[in-house]
């Protein structure tokens, strides 16, 4: 259970503080898949980094299982947009990296890393180096590394945004399959409405500068799911609804900024 209450964040800059998040409140239930959806610049990645404990927040509170977040912790693991694999380590060493940092003996972490390589479809590539892999395979390594530390919460920062379209679709299906096997609480940042609706139980819509919560939308599709739901009327209706919300706030922002310029 993640509880975020009245969260504020302002970045310092030369011209003064730039507010990025204002009064953000929401909660994520155990084993729930929540997407944070919003246009670029709405602070969604910052919000995820705050949840990960990589960035401090200025006001409000973030609690995981009732405990205030003050830094990275073993209960959370991050999958990064640009994979962030260590180029000098093999696939196996990269997957086992988090376990190794926790002092797990080599025999154990390499065994676990092997199993995870299998789970994410990397069997046979354990001794490859990141640069020898395609983007999609690199992100499989990133996902396996996060799963290896057995976190209660998986934080995913636009994990498929750097991939090409076909690979992205494949990876979405992989993620659906993997999360069906491993029960996790997942917070997933994306700017794609389809991706958010396909994967999530709920979609947190962030809009504006600074980002505020526009809506917390229930996605009423049963699991296990597959891509066939995207052709359903209900899916189209939700997508249209999200688009309506986004368009309204973005036009409003555009008008606001043109006022400022004038």
């Amino acid at each position: 259970m993640i509880t975020v209450t009245g969260l504020n964040k302002t970045f310092a800059s030369k011209v003064g503080g730039v507010p990025v998040l204002r009064d953000v409140s929401f909660e994520v239930r155990d084993n729930e898949f929540v997407s944070i959806l919003g246009p670029s610049g709405c602070g969604k990645t910052t919000l995820l980094r705050i949840l990960a404990g990589l960035v401090d927040h200025d006001g409000g509170s973030i609690q995981v299982e009732g405990k205030e977040v003050s830094g990275p912790g073993p209960d959370r693991a991050v999958v990064f947009q640009h994979f962030s694999l260590l180029p000098w380590m093999s696939v196996l060493d990269n997957i086992g990296f988090g376990l190794r940092l926790r002092g797990v003996p080599k025999a154990m972490w390499s065994k676990q890393a092997l199993q995870l390589a299998q789970l994410v479809g990397l069997q046979g590539f354990e001794n490859f180096f990141p640069r020898q892999l395609s983007g999609g395979m690199q992100q499989r390594v990133g996902l396996a590394r996060a799963l290896a530390v057995e976190p209660a919460i998986l934080l995913m920062d636009e994990p498929f945004a750097a991939l090409d379209e076909q690979t992205r679709l494949l990876m979405q299906e992989e993620l659906l399959r993997i999360t069906q096997e491993a029960h996790k609480t997942i917070v997933f940042v994306t700017h794609s409405m389809e991706e958010a609706l396909l994967l999530s139980d709920r979609v947190l819509l962030l809009t504006g500068h600074p980002g505020v919560v526009q809506e917390y939308l229930e996605v009423p599709f049963d699991r296990p799911r597959d891509r066939s739901i995207t052709t359903s009327l209900e899916f189209q209706r939700l997508r249209e609804h999200l688009w309506e919300q986004l368009r309204r706030t973005q036009t409003r922002d555009a008008v606001d900024s043109s006022d400022v310029v004038a």
Binding site: L86, F129, R131
Partner: protein
């Protein structure tokens, strides 16, 4: 992120390049050498100048000092100075470069002096060194260090700076402490640049060694050169220079090989 498209195609292209690379690398410089040798031989024979030996005279003098053994003791002595100076330089410079790359305060404190050493020609320091500690081995070592240290510092520092901050953040998110960061992220990431610094540093150490001995600290190779010059044995002077060239080439190619081995594995 670069994608590894067409691995098979790349593989064949690379192996085709490798099979021809041996001949391709050796033939052009050998041809060039042959042309220079012919011009040198004809020109020097024509000039009848005692200070300009012919190519063949230089070759026979080279054989004389290498087989006859006159070169080895001075060469060993000079190299000892260089190696001691280089090792001490590396021991000081690599850690200094590492902390300068990571800690802004230390960087601010040391940077002006490092950049001063980069732009400053080392030769004017020779008299000062001799004034301070005389003509012995330690003077040679110190001179080599003056030539060397700064290049290793600068490259090591740049290596740490070049480590992707996203990797540092990733390691933090998995609970890495400072020691973990150095071990798994910072040092492996900086290693190629450190190797470059050591390669350039060793070249500089070699230059410092030769210059120091020639100008002030008459010992080793420098002393040998001065002795041959005093005896008007210009062919032997040239032969010593050839020995130095051979050594410089060996050092540089050896260090390049080391540098390549320290590069991160790639496609």
């Amino acid at each position: 992120m670069t994608q590894s498209g067409g691995a098979l195609e790349q593989g064949t292209r690379r192996s085709a390049l490798r099979s021809s690379s041996g001949l391709w690398r050796v033939a052009p410089p050998l041809a060039f050498l042959a042309i220079v040798a012919i011009i040198w031989q004809l020109g020097a024979a024509d000039a009848h100048n005692i200070l300009l030996p012919t190519f063949t005279a230089t070759v026979s003098a080279f054989v004389d000092i290498v087989v006859g053994g006159a070169i080895w003791e001075p060469l060993l002595r000079s190299n000892l100075t260089m190696i001691i100076g280089f090792v001490i330089s590396a021991v000081i410079a690599v850690p200094l470069g590492l902390v300068m790359g990571r800690h802004l305060f230390i960087d601010r404190a040391a940077a002006p002096y490092v950049s001063l050493l980069v732009v400053m020609p080392a030769a004017p320091l020779l008299p000062i060194i001799v004034m301070m500690i005389g003509f012995g081995l330690s003077a040679g070592v110190l001179l080599v260090m003056v030539f060397t240290v700064v290049y290793i510092v600068v490259n090591t520092r740049a290596g740490i700076r070049s480590v992707d901050p996203r990797l540092v953040e990733m390691a933090h998110s998995y609970g890495a402490n400072e020691l973990n960061l150095w071990r798994y992220v910072l040092i492996p990431g900086a290693l190629p640049a450190i190797a470059t610094g050591l390669r350039i540093g060793l070249g500089r150490a070699f230059a410092g060694m030769v210059l120091g001995e020639l100008l002030l600290l008459s010992s080793g190779i420098g002393l040998l050169l001065l002795t041959y010059r005093a005896a008007n044995a210009s062919d032997h002077v040239f032969a010593v220079v050839v020995v130095l060239l051979v050594e410089a080439t060996l050092i540089s190619s050896g260090m390049r090989r080391l540098e390549r081995r320290l590069q991160p594995p790639s496609v």
